[in-house]
Symmetry: C3
Subunit: 250 residues, 3 copies
């Protein structure tokens, strides 16, 4: 059996973040919680999410692989109000996942399961020379700035600065987070630099994988030269990790 | 002659509710107020509205049939601000209806009359086994839930419950209003059940005829098995009635 | 050299107002401030803006002609937040204008200069029989009313009234600002009439040139019979002037 209860707001955040990059996923359920990971269709980005049983109000789970059409689940979850109680409940016999929203009215959706087998994908254990922690709002704004001039951007760590840089045929854009400057907002919350490095990424992917963040969420960004960027953040106890391959400049 | 004054907000609501289903209508005006009824172009739904003279600040009306392009009237009415005074005034000679908004500025529209003759349609006097009163907001949300899985829905009354149900090829949706459960919000304000019954309707029509309701409006819904559904509500003293034919399942 | 600092909000307003009608412009910079004027591509409207050095927090300017793609500049300026500090700074060597937004983060754009030579256009010195001052919000609403019935409108001054009038095949619209009526809001702030007159204009242009006004901005409108209309307004010390040729009715 599998049955879990939580608040709608948190589950919505986790599902939205995951579904921006992948279309279907296999929830690997067991007594400890829900895990899932998947690559985007073009195998450039990897998404991994972990919802330990502690984030649920009630949780009971045997071992199950629950294959889900994320697009359909996202639309259903979007129908829930933030303060409604959300109940997930596997109907093994009918091969369906029931999603129930409970307030003074009971609204129940049944969603057919997909034949998605568990991927056993793991986020590779890479050693990164640099990492920074940054508020998601400021990072997303820098991506929007870069979007005005080109469709790829360069993330640089150099001389006490984290720089988001983009250059088009005519114009260019640059956002500088300077670790040496007093920053009351703690926009750049952490800055750990091993060696100067830079990598270039597809902007659309970076936008997709940060689309569901809230402005105050802290993103932990791991960076090296011509290495995949790793971006981690937490949503009320659930953990999201994204890995994006660099664009190798010819 | 015909000349009537009211506040823009209320008239806007009545016109919007009516114009969601029909394109043209004949306002039957007399000393008691304005009445109109029309069928939608495919003859599946009937709309009827009644604005008694008491809802107007000033009202003077001889007997007139005023044929109106509802789409044009709706756009004009949309230009009025809620707290402006609205004056309707028939220019028999020029065959136009003048619509004037008055605040510190005077804005006057003249709209050409259509050759729509009075339909003398009446809402048929059907005996219904069941009726419920429900807040429009909750009903509209249930329609949106249903929309995720199919384009028609089933309204059921059974065992102290009013159920809105939809089933697609893969997924299904169900909203249950349970008369037996304490409901502080009075979402289900009344529940009068004669016999268990169910009918299926085109979802797009139900959405159209509830599109202009406010969340707190009370809809009175009359329901039987394979019978048209009748939905009534009031807007500041004006009465709106909708009748929608059931979808006969093959 | 040219370097100027101001708040983002004001500069955004001036650039938006200018860029609604023209695509490129030459900023004529000198020690007194920035001036620019341009005609729209179809030579029906003339736009002129003046930002004296007093509107800037800091200002230093030698004589320069700075040709700008207004569409690109508008998009960049749109990325600034209202309360950020904006720094304009000419890089003569690289032939670029740098636009920097400064808050706790520094965001810098470089925009390539265009080869737009100074136009030396002047707003012609026409004597107008009438002028009115009117709140932009009320004027824009009247344009929207007119838009429902036709794509051109007539501005009339007659008998203590300023009238915005439009007539379509079926319907018509008329907004009357009556100088004789007490108007607590001072919507019609001034009314100076020399002789009754009327001119007809393309509605889309009038909408474009008032698109960036705020509801409370005072527009000074100069009007005669079959003459261009001149519309002036101020944005925090900067001056905007628009001239629009009349539509000669055949």
């Amino acid at each position: 059996m599998f049955r879990a209860t939580c608040n709608t707001r948190d589950f919505k955040k986790v599902i939205n973040a995951t579904s921006n990059l992948v279309d279907e996923i296999c929830f690997e359920v067991d007594e400890n919680g829900i895990k899932a990971s998947a690559m985007d269709p073009s195998h450039v980005a990897l998404v991994s999410m972990e919802m330990p049983k502690e984030v649920f109000e009630e949780y009971e789970g045997d071992i199950h692989d629950i294959g889900i059409d994320l697009e359909a689940l996202k639309k259903i979850i979007a129908r829930g109000k933030g303060d409604e109680k959300l109940i997930l409940d596997l109907d093994v016999e009918k091969n369906k996942l029931n999603v129930t929203f409970k307030s003074n009215v009971t609204r129940k959706f049944s969603i057919a399961l997909y034949d998605v087998s568990s991927s056993n994908l793991k986020v590779p254990d890479i050693e990164y020379p640099n990492n920074v922690s940054i508020k998601a709002g400021a990072f997303v704004e820098a991506l929007k700035d870069a979007e005005l001039v080109n469709d790829h951007i360069t993330l640089k760590v150099d001389e006490d600065k984290f720089i988001i840089y983009s250059k088009g045929d005519l114009n260019q854009s640059e956002t500088v987070f300077d670790n040496g400057i007093e920053d009351d907002d703690a926009t750049l919350a952490e800055f750990n630099m091993g060696e100067a490095s830079r990598s270039t990424f597809n902007l659309a992917y970076l936008k997709d994988l940060t689309k569901s963040t809230a402005a105050e969420d802290l993103l932990k960004i791991y960076l090296g030269s011509d290495m995949p960027v790793k971006i981690e953040y937490e949503v009320s106890g659930s953990k999201l990790v994204f890995l994006l391959a660099p664009r190798i400049e010819s």
